[in-house]
């Protein structure tokens, strides 16, 4: 006879869910990983004493010491390059790039080493490493503070690329990323840092390995394929679409690499129509790959071409104009309307 340790009662004892932000969930993921595994080291600009400019590493230096959560000199290639060396010695560095655009100086280390070391050494030197990159706009950031750089990462074999859209996933995906034996570019949607959800840090949901998309809303008319900061936009659009008689399915990819063809294709085969939505520039952006592979796999199920709603093909605009650049509900609905409803079902 055992005492029931699961179920509502236990969950309550372990910490009742209350509103937590995505930033807090991310912090907690690192904290838990560091507590469990002494090889996990957090490093980056201002991650120590300050706790990061978004406070995502708040308290880690205090709890684990400056050797485990280190304020580095201000040099992104140096940060990533030394992290490579640390990984060579068996550590699991969790690197913070302060903003998307400030990861660019580290691209040579990323492309030529982080992504290739395992391959180069035929498995002898894996690179278990997480590169956390706050990304995307919508926060009124000045130049270089709102880039969506995921296309670069996706085009680099050897990297995993993931991005959460919910508080729960922020925790789960970051734990999974830290646990992964491969380098993971972990894209954090800046404008969701303060998004909240009832969530218990004491009893977080079980962590799945990365690579699985999730259907956030079931629907039958068409599929919105999206990720990160555009997930709430698509959910809102789906609600609004009911007024027009469309019942939209929303797939949150969560992982851009590996890509969950199964979930996405199953959805599109069901609905027969799809729109890809993201903030990143459209041309040669993530949506290109998504549209192309969905079309390859679902061609004969498609009533209309897979459409893309994306940022314009321009440098990220100044705060005063960013709302015109970012794909919003209206633009998503416009695309849905263009899915050639007359043509088919």
């Amino acid at each position: 006879m055992t005492t029931a340790t699961t179920g509502p009662a236990a969950a309550k004892a372990a910490g009742k869910p209350k509103p937590a932000t995505m930033a807090q969930a991310l912090q907690r993921a690192m904290r838990d990983a560091m507590a469990e595994d002494p090889t996990v080291h957090v490093m980056g600009e201002d991650v120590g004493t300050l706790g990061g400019v978004f406070r995502v590493t708040d308290g880690l230096a205090k709890e684990f010491g400056e050797d485990r959560c280190t304020d580095t000199p201000l040099a992104e290639a140096g940060i990533l390059g030394t992290a490579v060396g640390m990984a060579m010695y068996g550590l699991r560095p969790v690197v913070e790039m302060q903003f998307d655009a400030f990861a660019y100086p580290a691209f040579e280390q990323l492309i030529s080493h982080v992504a290739r070391m395992r391959n180069r050494t035929r498995g002898a030197m894996p690179m278990p490493m997480v590169i956390r990159v706050p990304y995307g706009g919508g926060i009124g950031g000045v130049e270089h503070h709102s880039d969506s750089s995921e296309a670069y990462y996706m085009a680099t074999p050897g990297l995993h690329v993931v991005t959460p859209a919910t508080v729960e996933d922020a925790y789960g995906l970051l734990r999974a990323a830290i646990a992964s034996d491969d380098p993971v570019v972990f894209l954090e949607p800046k404008r969701l840092y303060w998004s909240k959800s009832d969530w218990s840090p004491e009893a977080p949901a079980a962590v799945e390995p990365i690579g699985k998309a999730v259907v956030r809303r079931h629907g039958t008319s068409a599929t919105l394929i999206t990720y990160g900061p555009s997930v709430p936009v698509c959910l809102e659009a789906a609600e609004a679409a009911t007024a027009e008689g469309w019942d939209l399915e929303v797939v949150d990819l969560r992982s851009l690499v590996p890509f969950d063809d199964e979930t996405v294709a199953a959805s599109v085969r069901r609905t027969g129509r799809a729109v890809v939505v993201h903030e990143s520039n459209g041309f040669a952006g993530p949506g290109a790959e998504i549209a192309a592979r969905v079309t390859e796999r679902c061609f004969h199920h498609l009533e209309a071409p897979v459409l893309r709603v994306a940022g314009f093909d321009i440098p990220y605009p100044p705060p005063m104009l960013e709302r015109h650049h970012l794909p919003g509900v209206d633009r998503v609905l416009d695309a849905v309307a263009r899915l050639q409803w007359e043509a088919g079902s």
Binding site: E45, D46, G48, T49, L50, G51, V53, D71, T72, P73, L74, A75, E76, A77, G78, A101, F102, Y104, P105, G140, G141, V142, E143, H144, H145, F283, F312, D313, I314, P315, P317, P318, P319, M320, L321, H324, H325, D330, R331, D334
Partner: protein, 383 residues
């Protein structure tokens, strides 16, 4: 035979007499001694050297410092009123900002970092234009060629190679132009700092690299940024002179920068100048400096305030009286009032401008996207 060819040939002459010669290619390229910076930051205020300074220059520097301080206060206030998206203040660093601007001739170029709007303003840029970026408007609010002020540069240290390239190009063209590039202590850790200084020295480009060491890169203190005796010591590794100056002594900074500019202009090549100063305010209005530094440190630096130092000196030397102070303060206040006033208006931005200046000519692809936005805006207008 194989064996023989794998060892080396014997040199001619007597075996016993043979002694290794220095490696033929090696000779020190320059004498390092004159490249090393001063052991103490150079100071003019409070020394007899002040007597050599032109009183008109001293008064001008004073007026600019007072104006600069007021500019910082006003810009900070504008963030609170939501008129600026963000403001990285140079309160406490005005001596560096002002001296940088005043060390240059009109034909010279200034390469400011994101923090250095004050230097641009001291160089003559309209403060409203200088603040365009920080207000959330288009990224550069002025024509860089008109003022010879490069766009404020946010990716740290990336402006330094630009300054080198521009100075190099000017020199190739036979133009008598010097570029002065500003960077923070944190920025010196970036690879671009290194590459820029190296290119400048190899090309003997007429550039002055001006590091404002204000003790912090956001929250990271200098001790976590470098283990060097000083940042100015980096110069010797490029074969250029390093200078170390008290960054709160505006006369000293002006002197060192003027000398470096003159040296560059006469073909003497680049100089690295480190000014020791202090960031009195937080990193930006969005930052909370109490998380990483003690108030006591700030207070200690307030006692070494650039305006205070100059004010005392000028007063003591009879170059500044109450009227002079008042005049400077009033001029500053006028500037601030005008800035406040002008920043109170909402700039009108044309959304269609998103598609201009991406390329010299709009591509068909951008024309399509522009048409989409135009249709949306029209629909919005109708709604």
């Amino acid at each position: 035979m194989q064996q023989r060819s794998s060892t080396v040939q014997e040199p001619p002459g007597d075996t016993a007499a043979y002694r290794p010669t220095p490696p033929p290619a090696w000779q020190p390229r320059t004498d390092p001694a004159p490249l090393l910076p001063e052991t103490e930051p150079l100071r003019v205020l409070g020394t007899d050297a002040v007597a050599d300074a032109d009183p008109a220059l001293l008064r001008r520097l004073y007026a600019e410092l007072v104006r600069g301080r007021r500019y910082n206060a006003q810009a900070t206030a504008l963030t609170k009123q939501g008129r600026l998206a963000v403001y990285p203040s140079t309160t406490g660093q005005e001596a560096c900002e002002v001296a940088a601007a005043l060390a240059l001739e009109e034909r010279d170029w200034l390469f400011p970092s994101y923090r250095d709007t004050l230097a641009a303003v001291a160089r003559g840029l309209d403060p409203v234009q200088a603040l365009t970026l920080l207000r959330g408007d288009w990224h550069t609010g002025y024509d860089p060629r008109e003022y010879r002020v490069a766009p404020l540069c946010t990716p740290l240290a990336t402006q330094l190679p630009h300054a080198v390239g521009l100075a190099h190009a000017a020199r190739l063209k036979g133009d008598d132009v010097v570029a002065l590039a500003m960077v923070g202590d944190g920025g010196t850790s970036e690879g671009d700092f290194h590459e820029a200084l190296n290119f400048a020295a190899v090309w003997q480009a007429p550039v002055v690299f001006f590091v404002q060491n204000n003790g912090f890169a956001i929250s990271v203190p200098l001790a976590k940024q470098t283990a060097a005796p000083s940042l100015a010591h980096k110069a010797v590794g490029y074969g250029m002179p390093g200078r170390l100056v008290d960054g709160n002594d505006v006369v000293a900074v002006h002197q060192v920068l003027t000398e470096a500019v003159a040296r560059a202009r006469r073909g003497g090549g680049p100089t690295l100048v480190e000014a020791i100063t202090y960031r009195i305010d937080a990193h930006t209005n969005a930052d909370d400096a109490t998380r990483y530094r003690a108030d006591g440190e700030v207070e200690a630096w307030r006692a070494h305030d650039p305006i205070l130092l100059l004010e005392r000196e000028l007063t003591e030397r009879g170059l500044l009286d109450e009227d002079g102070r008042r005049a400077a303060a009033e001029a500053a206040e006028t500037m601030a009032a005008e800035l406040r006033e002008r920043m109170n208006a909402d700039p009108v931005l044309d959304p269609m401008a998103l598609f201009s200046h991406v390329y010299a000519e709009q591509t068909a692809q951008l024309r399509e996207q522009a048409a989409q936005l135009r249709a949306e805006l029209e629909a919005e207008g109708e709604a």
